[in-house]
């Protein structure tokens, strides 16, 4: 067992445990905090995959913005400070069955693929993945158009979210 494998197994165990807590705990603020643990585990995984930029972006965007949005939304949509209510649907056993079948199906399908147990190819020496990503995002032969469309999407989401949640002064 190399050190990387141990790190991966610990991170994976923490991620799966906290993801399970996200979907089962009744206290929603705790669920948001467990989600933060899961997102952090995902950032660690990105770092082990030599995608350093994606790891840091994961922390900045998901943990620094989306998780805080979730916590704010949870706090703003409760009637009392400690209300929780029933957590799961009456039909939760059906959802659990569907989730287990999906996981089993995915694992079984992937096992038949011959690239399943591939080892990682070595990175070329001196490879600057951040610079290459920057080139790919702004060069016209690569992905500048999706990049610009994504920024328009973010603008639309910004305006839309402000408009939907806006409350004029004096309105109830």
């Amino acid at each position: 067992m190399t050190a990387m494998q141990i790190i991966f197994l610990i991170t994976a165990a923490v991620m799966l445990g906290s993801a399970f807590m996200v979907v089962t705990t009744k206290n929603l603020v705790h669920a948001a905090l467990w989600l933060i643990v899961t997102l952090f585990g995902a950032a660690v995984l990105f770092a082990t995959l030599n995608a350093g930029f994606i790891a840091v972006i994961q922390v900045v965007v998901y943990i620094g913005a989306i998780a805080i949005l979730f916590i704010f939304a949870v706090m703003l949509t409760r009637r009392t400070m400690s209300e929780t209510g029933a957590g799961l649907n009456p039909n939760w056993w059906l959802s659990a069955a569907i989730a287990v079948i999906l996981f089993g199906g995915l694992a079984w399908l992937l096992r038949g693929w011959d690239g399943f147990s591939k080892a990682a190819p070595a990175l070329p020496s001196g490879f600057d993945s951040v610079g290459a990503l920057a080139q790919a995002l702004v060069s016209p032969e690569a992905y500048v158009l999706p990049f610009e469309v994504a920024s328009v999407l973010l603008l639309a989401a910004l305006v839309g979210a402000v408009y939907i949640a806006f409350q004029k002064k004096g309105e109830e």
């Binding site: 050190a3 840091v56 900045v60 943990i63 805080i68 400070m81 400690s82 600057d128």
Partner: protein, 401 residues
């Protein structure tokens, strides 16, 4: 390698050799040495934090024309230890309805987010935690962990004023992250690299000369990020008692306080690294560890600048804080980034690079001030025009707000 030119790394290699000699495999020995290095760095930083309490009290005292603590030990140097003992022996109060796990975790997370920043600061040419090539982005990401701990503290206290204070503080912090990111992007553009050590190495001319407006922008947004005056509405005792740490007593409050002081010093270190040349100074090529001394001198000057602003300026109201950010700083920062990138491209290979950049920054600042002046004059005339009309037309008092 030679011990004197690179003492810390030589010590690390020696330690790894010792562990491998005891029979550990090379991987584990390396990881253990790294852990010991982390422990050493954190210990030094925390001891520094203790003396920051003393420094803070002396600075505030001198600004207020008094002496500060001078009874406990020579020059009052033992005062922080007395403070620590007092905080430790205080009772740990848990209010009713408090969510214990989150309540206890919040100050720990706050201190953790500050200590994580020290991993990428280059203390000397050979002394840094990790040479991350996305160091600037890492700084932003870790700052957002501090935001999280404030929400956790405010919510778990089961206290409406704590919640309100923490909401306001988080709103200010996430709003001011945008001009701070752009202000950190300007040294990135000037040097072409995102790693903090590489930015320090690229500073042949200090970036405060090449981009003084970026320094001012970073100063303003960093003051808001730190929650320090004049942006500290949440700690205003007469308004919200103590913001998100109302219900904290004893050493937990001590952790919040120490984390805030250390955060300020760390941002002083960031100012030193990004704008004042980091570990650069005389004789650093011959004795690399001397860079540590220069870095700490510059970081202390940065810390003193933050204290200077805090103890001189009055507090700003929360809606004016957010107005300042969204209506002035965000557009200003984007236009400044484009302008500096343009001037950098135009002037980079000429002989008057430094003076040209400095003068173009002054010009940009003057144009901004002119625009602001005209808008303020227009608004004042509109206001006074309305008042004048009211005086003429009717005698009742009409508020125009």
């Amino acid at each position: 390698m030679d011990f004197w030119s690179n003492p810390v790394q030589a010590a690390g290699v020696w330690l790894t050799g010792v562990f491998a000699g005891w029979g550990m495999n090379a991987d584990a020995a390396g990881i253990l040495t790294a852990f010991i290095g982390i422990l050493a760095l954190i210990s030094v930083v925390m001891v520094l934090d203790i003396f920051l309490v003393w420094t803070e009290r002396k600075i505030v005292a001198r600004f207020q024309d008094r002496l500060g603590p001078n009874r406990v030990g020579p020059f009052g140097l033992i005062q922080p230890f007395a403070d620590i003992i007092k905080l430790i022996i205080k009772e740990n109060i848990y209010p009713i309805g408090v969510d214990k796990v989150v309540f206890n975790l919040a100050p720990v997370l706050m201190m953790m987010s500050v200590l994580l920043l020290w991993a990428v600061l280059p203390l000397a040419p050979v002394l840094f935690g990790v040479d991350l090539n996305v160091g600037v982005l890492y700084l932003i990401g870790v700052g957002s962990l501090g935001t999280l701990s404030i929400i956790m503290a405010g919510w778990s206290s089961n206290n409406k004023f704590a919640l309100l204070g923490s909401f306001r503080q988080v709103a200010v912090m996430i709003s001011y992250e945008i001009p701070m990111v752009v202000a950190l992007l300007i040294p990135t553009v000037l040097s072409g690299k995102m790693g903090v050590n590489e930015i320090v190495q690229a500073q042949e001319v200090w970036y405060i000369v090449l981009a003084p407006l970026a320094f001012l922008l970073f100063l303003i947004s960093a003051t808001a990020e730190l929650g320090r005056a004049p942006f500290d509405l949440t700690e205003a005792e007469s308004e919200l008692i103590a913001g998100h740490h109302i219900e904290y007593s004893g050493m937990k409050f001590g952790l919040f306080y120490a984390a805030e002081l250390l955060h300020t010093f760390t941002f002083g270190g960031l100012i030193a690294a990004f704008f004042f040349g980091g570990w650069r100074g005389p004789w650093v090529e011959q004795v690399p560890m001397l860079g540590l001394l220069w870095f700490f001198i510059k970081a202390t000057i940065g810390y003193w600048i933050f204290g200077w602003i805090k103890y001189t300026m009055p507090r700003i109201r929360i809606d004016k804080m957010l107005d300042l950010n969204w209506k002035f700083l965000v557009p200003f920062s984007f236009v400044l980034l484009m302008f500096i990138a343009l001037m950098n491209e135009l002037l980079r290979d000429t002989s008057f690079y430094a003076i040209g950049m400095f003068l173009s920054n002054i010009l940009f600042g003057w144009v901004t001030l002119e625009i602001l002046r005209r808008r303020a004059r227009g608004e004042r005339e509109k206001l006074e025009g309305a008042k004048h009309n009211d005086h003429v037309v009717t005698t009742s008092v009409v508020h125009s707000d």
